[in-house]
């Protein structure tokens, strides 16, 4: 299975939009390795013919009529925004 080293941890961090200092990275790689060593025990089991369970009650689809219902006011929704302008969330410039 996967070889855990600093490069892999850095790669996963990019995917997760996280960032670690060098020192954190060492500590993290070590603990990450221990956890993955532990989950290696699943290798003992042959589950080729077993169906996965992603959800407990998968046997129905929750459908509803497409009706217009009352929702929150824009001002309410924007109340928690770190930065906003008019009726928009504002973020740092994306396009130059």
């Amino acid at each position: 299975m996967a070889e855990i080293n600093k490069d892999l941890v850095k790669y996963i961090a990019v995917l997760a939009r996280l960032e670690f200092d060098e020192e954190e990275l060492d500590n993290f790689t070590e603990k990450f390795k221990r956890i993955l060593d532990y989950v290696e025990q699943l290798k003992e089991l042959n589950v080729d013919d077993v169906l996965p369970t992603y959800h407990i009650n998968i046997n129905y689809n929750a459908m509803r009529e497409d009706e217009v219902k009352e929702s929150l006011e824009v001002s309410e929704v924007l109340k928690n925004a770190p930065d906003k302008k008019e009726s928009f969330f504002r973020v740092p410039r994306v396009v130059e």
Partner: protein, 487 residues
């Protein structure tokens, strides 16, 4: 009148008979909660003004004849359940300024039944932890020994009961986060069947595992709260259309002929001796009450932790992607572009355990690793679920310890994730299967720390689980749920 000694049903009846006011009850608990806050750190937010205003409004309604299941009862709420206008932090820096513009469905349900939404309780950050040490707002202390952890992640909600800071509380349980702290604090805590209680407004951790449930000092109190919060909710697509039984009215201590399964895999090395003894004692009590005890086998028990930490983290990594500093929460400052804003916001906003789980989950879902980790774990999840289904063909309920240890010392396991994860070995599989379970106080170890036993039921068999617990509670003459009970 000694307010501290009143159970939920007693508080409600006295208020409805106008022998006591909701305001008096609420003031009493507020005073207690505030005076013990420094010692326990059980609350993150305790909005006195708002709480007293709710009580006054309720008293006015009672004057006009209002009656509910929980009239005037203050209920403390874990801080990952959204409360309109009241800060909801998930014990994280990243949400430390978040004020929800809406109520979770369980909050609406409680309010409709006349409950007072009391303070917001401390917890592990994003409910990730088994000791309440990962909270941005500091650890919670166990009232039975202030140097020890109360369990987690719903540590504050458990302490609210065992330090008598509120008559009842709500928590959430993804891998044991209600039952394990209930066990370590000597109180009652229940995780309902997945889909029984709406998750709308519960800040998501592991969406296929999370479920809200009550903490209480007795089984009838627990039954009543469960009744109040249960029910189908169109706002939660995983909530199930099934009637809510009258759990309190249907409580029945006659368990003659009830088949109780005891899984041999739950009495392994590493389980403290006093805990095993205590469970054995409970088994003897059940025998005397006329139950049939059977040894059963849940052969895939030991894989639960590995499966859980791949699945729950995968779901968490997806759920927590939303904390990017755009719509709510704390945004990192001095960033040069959008991408850096995302990264810095997460780097500064999340604590170590949360980052570790996001990383593990991202890994288990990543291209090239998905089949060997996430998918494999999901297949083993099927085997774990089937173990329970096979067992419930032979027995009505399953009895086992809730936790392999009693409360450990603050700091004892915080540097070893695997040791910490193993605290949940007996509770985690119940979430993977989605079935209901309760933790019931069943004695103390030599150090005087509480021990809990877990009673697990089949899908939607909450009543059977409650009745089994009720019979035990009656046989032992009630629980010692707090060191302050007789003060």
């Amino acid at each position: 009148m000694d307010i501290k000694k009143l159970k939920l049903t007693e508080i409600k009846n006295l208020i409805e008979k106008r022998e006591i006011k909701a305001e008096e009850v609420t003031e009493y608990y507020l005073k207690r909660a505030i005076s013990l806050q420094e010692k326990t750190n059980a609350f993150i937010t305790l909005n006195e003004e708002n709480i007293l205003e709710q009580a006054k409004n309720l008293d006015n309604l009672v004057e006009k004849g209002f009656k509910g299941k929980l009239t005037g009862v203050p209920i403390a709420i874990k801080d990952n359940i959204c409360t309109k206008g009241i800060r909801t932090t998930c014990a994280s820096k990243i949400l430390s300024n978040f004020i929800p513009p809406y109520n979770a469905t369980v909050i609406e349900n409680l309010k409709n039944e006349g409950a007072i939404i009391f303070g917001k309780t401390n917890m592990d950050e994003f409910a990730m932890g088994s000791s309440n040490e990962t909270s941005y707002f500091g650890p919670v202390k166990n009232p039975w020994d202030m140097e020890r952890i109360p369990g987690g992640s719903s540590g504050g909600s458990a302490v609210a009961i065992s330090a008598i800071l509120a008559p009842a509380s709500l928590g959430s349980d993804t891998g044991g986060s209600i039952r394990q702290p209930a066990s370590l604090c000597g109180v009652v805590g229940m995780k309902p069947t997945y889909g029984r209680v709406s998750r709308y407004g519960l800040i998501a951790f592991g969406s296929s595992l999370d479920q809200i449930g009550p903490f209480a000092r007795s089984i009838d109190d627990c039954a009543l709260i469960l009744e109040a919060i249960s029910g189908y909710d169109p706002k939660d697509s995983t909530s199930i259309k099934i009637d809510t039984p009258e759990y309190l009215k249907n409580l029945n201590k006659d368990i003659k002929g009830l088949k109780i399964g005891v899984p041999k895999e739950y009495f392994i090395e590493g389980v403290e001796e006093d805990i095993v003894k205590s469970i054995e004692k409970s088994i003897e009590i059940y025998k005397k009450l006329g139950a049939e005890i059977q040894e059963i086998s849940l052969p895939h028990t030991k894989y639960g932790i590995a499966v859980y930490y791949l699945i729950a983290t995968a779901e968490a990594s997806s759920n927590l992607a939303r904390y990017d500093g755009v719509k709510y929460g704390v945004r990192a400052e001095n960033v040069k572009d959008l991408k850096q804003m995302y990264i810095k916001t997460k780097k500064e906003g999340f604590g170590e355990e949360v980052k570790r789980r996001i990383m593990l989950g991202t890994f288990s879902l990543a291209s090239g690793y998905y089949d060997a980790y996430y998918k494999k774990a999901s297949k083993v999840r099927t085997l774990i679920k089937n173990d329970f289904m096979n067992a419930f063909e032979k027995v009505d309920v399953i009895l086992c310890p809730t936790s392999p240890t009693t409360a450990f010392k603050i700091g004892e396991k915080s540097n070893d994730p695997i040791q910490m994860y193993l605290s949940d070995i007996f509770t985690i599989n119940v979430n993977l299967a989605g079935i209901p379970a309760i933790s019931v106080p069943c004695g103390f170890d030599k150090k005087g720390l509480p021990i809990g036993m877990q009673i697990i039921g089949n899908y939607f068999d909450e009543q059977k689980v409650l009745n089994t617990s009720f019979a035990y509670e009656d046989a032992v003459g009630g629980f010692k749920f707090s060191p302050y009970q007789e003060d």
